[in-house]
């Protein structure tokens, strides 16, 4: 009896070992991919778009990889610890998705030269740190066309977070897009000094609407501008994500950024051992920038114009910052026949003609 029991037990242990081994082996085989997010995933916004990309990556390569995300990681010392912990716990590829993670990412990458890091929206690359960013301005230009066509008051409202080049670029592209179809347009900008504060975003949107804006767009993270536009009976153009369910009547379209392809390609490159550090700046051509489905109120000719421009941007025959572009003082900043270089775009710190107000200094 006892020997029988022992026997059964040893078989069990053996089985458990085998099971354990195979389990751990399969987990070892899989590439671990880590993501660091600045905010909770939520239902719309910057982090949500990155998480959609992560989910698509899982869908595409799910049998070869596992992913893990850490949300609400503040920029600064916390970020460095989280990135390091991800690297230490066996994540070979780590995507850090906020500008403030730039230096922490670089520091950790130095400690783990065999691992790969991809930092979003930064400008420093090293041997094992690449950067990636979307040409958000391309989407902005297209939505500008829609706004320019749909406005009756010729006043557009822009709720903005912080005066950094990325945001200023968006404001300018939007304005140029709108002016391309409606030269009389003016764009009013309100800075709320927060990426995310629904109350303030609402208040700023309301102020813009009162001052005559009848199309509201935003470079902040919440759905409040769209909600406010719906409530006040004006149009809205969302950013980051399709927010149409928050404003079925108001929501004309949204300039969204899509990461599924990039995440899949980059991860595949790591799997194939072909990954190289690069500064990827991808746009419509690469499928990184998309517009959300148009509201039916947008007339067919406007939709056609947007589609035509989209194609032109994709095949390179048109650039949103194609000369002549004038700044606020009327000075030509981009001469006819030329368009801005990526370097100029990256450091953009002036408003184009048509934007009201001055950039906070």
């Amino acid at each position: 009896m006892t020997s029988m029991k022992k026997h059964v037990l040893s078989v069990f242990i053996l089985l458990a070992c085998v099971a354990g081994f195979t389990l751990s082996a399969s987990a070892e085989d899989k590439l671990k991919v880590g993501f660091v997010y600045i905010s909770p995933v939520g239902d719309a916004g910057w982090t949500y778009q990155h998480d959609l990309g992560r989910l698509e990556l899982e869908k595409n390569l799910g049998d070869k990889i596992v992913t893990k995300y850490i949300e609400s990681v503040p920029e600064g010392p916390e970020a460095e610890r989280v990135i390091r912990d991800l690297a230490k716990s066996g994540h070979d590829l780590i995507f850090t998705t906020s500008f403030g993670y730039m230096n922490p990412t670089l520091k950790v990458a130095k400690m783990f030269p065999k691992k790969y890091f991809e930092h979003s929206t930064g400008y420093k690359t090293t041997k094992n740190v690449g950067t990636y960013m979307c040409r958000f301005y391309e989407g902005r230009y297209l939505t500008g066309i829609v706004a320019g066509k749909m406005t009756k008051s010729n006043t557009l409202g822009y709720v903005a977070a912080f005066p950094i080049p990325e945001v200023i670029r968006g404001i300018n592209a939007f304005t140029l897009g709108a002016k391309s179809v409606n030269p009389d347009i003016q764009v009013k900008v309100i800075w709320v000094n927060s990426w995310f504060d629904p109350g303030k975003e609402r208040e700023a949107s309301e102020a813009l609407i009162t001052q005559g804006a009848d199309v509201i767009t935003h470079h902040t993270d919440s759905t409040a501008p769209t909600l406010t536009a719906e409530e006040k009976g004006v149009y809205s153009i969302a950013y980051h994500s399709d927010m149409s369910k928050y404003g079925p009547k108001a929501h004309l379209t949204a300039a969204t950024h899509v990461y599924g392809d990039f995440y899949t390609k980059t991860t595949q490159a790591v799997l194939d051992n072909t990954w190289k550090s690069d500064a990827v700046w991808s746009g419509i051509k690469e499928g990184s920038i998309e517009l959300a489905p148009m509201n039916p109120v947008v007339p067919a000719d406007v939709v056609a114009l947007v589609e035509k421009t989209t194609k032109a941007i994709a095949d390179g025959s048109f650039h949103p910052f194609q000369g002549p572009v004038k700044d606020q003082s009327g000075k030509v900043v981009v001469e006819a026949g030329k368009s801005l270089t990526d370097k100029d775009l990256l450091g953009m710190s002036y408003y184009v003609e048509g934007v009201l107000g001055k950039i906070p200094k």
């Binding site: 905010s39 909770p40 995933v41 939520g42 239902d43 609400s72 409202g157 005066p163 009013k188 900008v189 309100i190 800075w191 709320v192 000094n193 927060s194 995310f196 504060d197 629904p198 109350g199 303030k200 975003e201 609402r202 208040e203 700023a204 309301e206 102020a207 813009l208 009162t210 001052q211 919440s222 759905t223 409040a224 909600l227 406010t228 409530e231 369910k245 928050y246 009201l356 107000g357 001055k358 906070p360 200094k361």
Partner: protein, 309 residues
Amino acid sequence: MDFDIFIHILIAAIAAGTPFVYAALGELITEKSGVLNLGVEGMMLVGAISGFIAMAKTGSILVAVLCGMTAGALMAGIFAVLTLTLMANQVASGLALTIFGVGMSAFLGLKYTSIALPGVPEIHIPILSNIPVVGQLFFSHDMLIYCSGALFVAISWFLYKSKSGLILRGIGEAPKSAHALGYNVIKIRYMAVLFGGAMAGLGGTYLSIAYTPMWVEGMVAGRGWVSLALVVFATWRPARVMLGAYLFGAITIAQFHIQGFGIDIPAQLLSMLPYVATIVVLVFISRDQNTIRLNSPASLGITYHPNVQ
């Protein structure tokens, strides 16, 4: 700036000020009883998500409001047990309550970030709302804004015209004497703290179902702290709480309008304005020792228990 925009700033200020009105009037009652609860931000957040969940589940504004108030009161209940029964320090307990509330609301709301609510309809009071300017300002709001007005009237009456209000103020002034006169200081303070929590919860609910009908983590965004400041700003008087709440709202809205007109002042400086204004007013009213002494509850923040001391 033309007249229409001026009126708009006032109307928007009333809506923007309403969460402050609720939370600050609630805190006013709490503080009048001699208890300082710094956990308003946490209570508002838990109130916001609870009201939001109730609204999403039932679609009833009334149920949402009740749930938000109950949740706020429950949060305040934790604070009351800590500070009134267990005599823990009020400042520390209030801050701990906020930390707890931030986490708790985020946790409760995990599944509710993707829901859009219809919002609370405006009710234009017949005839009155047709009066030019005044109608727009006072008779064309949603139900919760009218309720905040009613709350103000009720609290003013309670504090200065009712006997219970007198007792409450007495307890805030001199809990020992109130106890000697036979009043149950702890019980009354419990009620005041719970009321404060319920109102903070209601203020949060207003944000999540009416002002910006959605739920996102941390959406109260510091309004709880401002409400605390408003109580002092108002020298513990309900009418000045209302004035302060709307003034704060108006300054916030006005700075956005200033930007919209393209006036060249750094946005950060404009954002500082409401806080600096609060300090300036605080200094102005505190200068006269008597004003503060007449209005500030003498035992504010000091632990008291009848079985002790």
